[in-house]
Symmetry: C2
Subunit: 98 residues, 2 copies
Amino acid sequence: MVPSELEQAMETLMFTFHKYCGDKNYMSKDDLHKMMESEFPEFLKNQNDPRAVDKIMKDLDQCRDGRVTFHSFFSLIAGLTIACNDYYCKNMKGGRKQ
Amino acid sequence: MVPSELEQAMETLMFTFHKYCGDKNYMSKDDLHKMMESEFPEFLKNQNDPRAVDKIMKDLDQCRDGRVTFHSFFSLIAGLTIACNDYYCKNMKGGRKQ
């Protein structure tokens, strides 16, 4: 059974996370930095803030143990995608409100 | 600039949602049903419960207005992907705990 496009997208989210985790099941701050640089280069460039990743890490590392779990990683992806969707709904899909 | 794999996956999540919304910015129960049937056919088959979509709708329709917003849709995707990731970490990635 061929996975649907949505299932493939979910798989990509999962394996992207593990690509940067390595053998662990969480990302360190260095892993997060590498992930942001490789996966969101434009986003980082537009931040104009050398501490952007530090701030994101602080938001995601809820247990203050220097670890970004898959759950926290998904919160980051959710925040970015919901922001993109808001922009799309307001400016590109007929300018309607969500 | 070519989007990264992760950015493409986020785009797929967004446009899959809008594919089933049509002109609206939310999914009705019928839209959700069509989405689940087309995008998660195996998941629905394994539920063995004809009311599975009704139950999911009840969970997602937090405002009780019969609408699944992008935010709620993302919660569904998060729940499913986190469950897949837990399974992957426990059973496939060396049996380590998250």
